[in-house]
C-alpha cells in the first residue's frame, strides 16, 4: 500500500519510483526505486510495521518563500516523512534511517558540488530528530541506482563498474 501527499502515478505493481524532490510512504510488499546523483535518497523504516517512507532530497535547506515541495529539502523532507508515518501509526521510536547518494558527479568546484552538503544536512536533520542512522552509502563520484525493499528493510545500491552494495 502506498501513502503519500503527492500523486501515486509513480507506482507500477509494487514498485514505487521516487522522483526528484518527491516523498512516498508505503507498506510491504513494495519497493522504492530511484536513481541518484548528488541528491540523497533517505528512507525512514520500521521493521516492526514493515512500513517506511522515502524522500529524494535535492538541496540542504528550504529557501524562504520557496514553494511547498517538502521532499526537495533535507530540513523539510525528514519532518514530512515523520508526519506521513505517524498518520499510519508508525512513531519515531520505531524508526531507523538509511541514506545513499550525495555524489560529486562533475569535475568542477562551486555550487554544482552540492552532494557533500546534502549528506551533512540530512545527517544533521536525522540527529536533530533523534533517528538512528542504520546504514549509509554516500559520496563518491558515480551515480547510483537504488532499491529499498520494505519486506527486508534493505537498500540495494548499484554503481557503474562495481558490485552492488546491500545494507
Amino acid at each position: 500500500m502506498v501513502f503519500s501527499t503527492t500523486n501515486t502515478d509513480n507506482k507500477v505493481d509494487n514498485k514505487i519510483t521516487v522522483g526528484i524532490g518527491q516523498v512516498f510512504g508505503a507498506r510491504a510488499p513494495a519497493t522504492f526505486h530511484s536513481v541518484l546523483g548528488s541528491c540523497i535518497g533517505v528512507v525512514l523504516y520500521s521493521r516492526q510495521h514493515k512500513t517506511g517512507a522515502m524522500a529524494h532530497v535535492v538541496l540542504p535547506a528550504q529557501v524562504a518563500g520557496s514553494a511547498d515541495t517538502p521532499g526537495k529539502y533535507a530540513d523539510t523532507a525528514i519532518k514530512h516523512m515523520l508526519k506521513l508515518l505517524a498518520r499510519e501509526g508508525v512513531m519515531l521510536e520505531h524508526l531507523t534511517a538509511k541514506i545513499t547518494g550525495g555524489a560529486a558527479m562533475f569535475n568542477t568546484s562551486g555550487p554544482l558540488q552540492i552532494g557533500e552538503k546534502n549528506i551533512d544536512a540530512v545527517k544533521a536533520e536525522l540527529t536533530n530528530a533523534n533517528i538512528r542512522l542504520g546504514g549509509d552509502d554516500t559520496g563518491g563520484t558515480k551515480g547510483r541506482r537504488v532499491t529499498f525493499d520494505l519486506e527486508t528493510g534493505m537498500f540495494t545500491v548499484e554503481t557503474v563498474g562495481q558490485e552492488p552494495t546491500v545494507f
Binding site: T6, I20, V35, G37, V58, K72, F106, P111, L112, R144
Partner: protein
Amino acid sequence: MSSNLELLHSVFSAATHDASAAMSFWTKGLVTLSLDEVRELPLEEVVSSELEEKLLNMVVLTLDEESGGTIVLTFDDNSGRQLASILLSQPLPEEGTEWNELEKSALLETGNILGCAYIGAIAKCVEQTLTPSPPYFLQDYAASVLEQAIIEQATYTEKILICQTRFLQKNEEVNWNVFFIPSFCLRQKMEQSLQFDEKLSDC
C-alpha cells in the same frame, strides 16, 4: 508555449543551428542537429521514464560559475561507438569491449566542438563571454547526471528549463541527444536580452 519560452526557443534554435554547422564540418557532412524541445518541467518530470535507468556514455561541459549552465551529450553504447569509429576511420570494435582512450578522445573532441559552437551562439545573445569547461567523459546513469545538472536551477525555481536537441545522421534520427540546462541567472540574462531586442523591434 509561454511567450518567454517562445523567445528562448529562438535562442536555442540559433545555438542548435551553429552547433549543427560545426558538427557537419567535423563529420564531413555526415551528422547534423535539430532542435527537439524547449521545456519547462516540474522537478519530478525532468528525467523521463525513457531515460530513467539508462546507462549511457556522456560528454559534459559546464559553464563558468558566474554564468552557469551545463551541456550534456548522451550516446548509447552502439551510437557512441559508431561515431567514434567514423571519426577515427576505424572498424567498429566487438560488442562489450572497453572504450579505449582514442575513442573517448574522439567523443570529447566532438563535445568540445559542438559545445563551443552552441555556447558561442548563446554568448552572442547575452552579449557576454561564456567560458565552457574542458569536456569530460562519463559512463553513468543518465538520470544521475541530469539530476546534477539541474541542481543550480532547482535552488531558485520549481520549474526547470531544459533544451533537448536531436542528432541526425544522413537525415535519419540516431540515438544521441544534447541537453542544455542553463543556470537560473543565465536564463534571466537570455530573457532580458530578448525582451530588450523585442521592444526595439516594436519601435
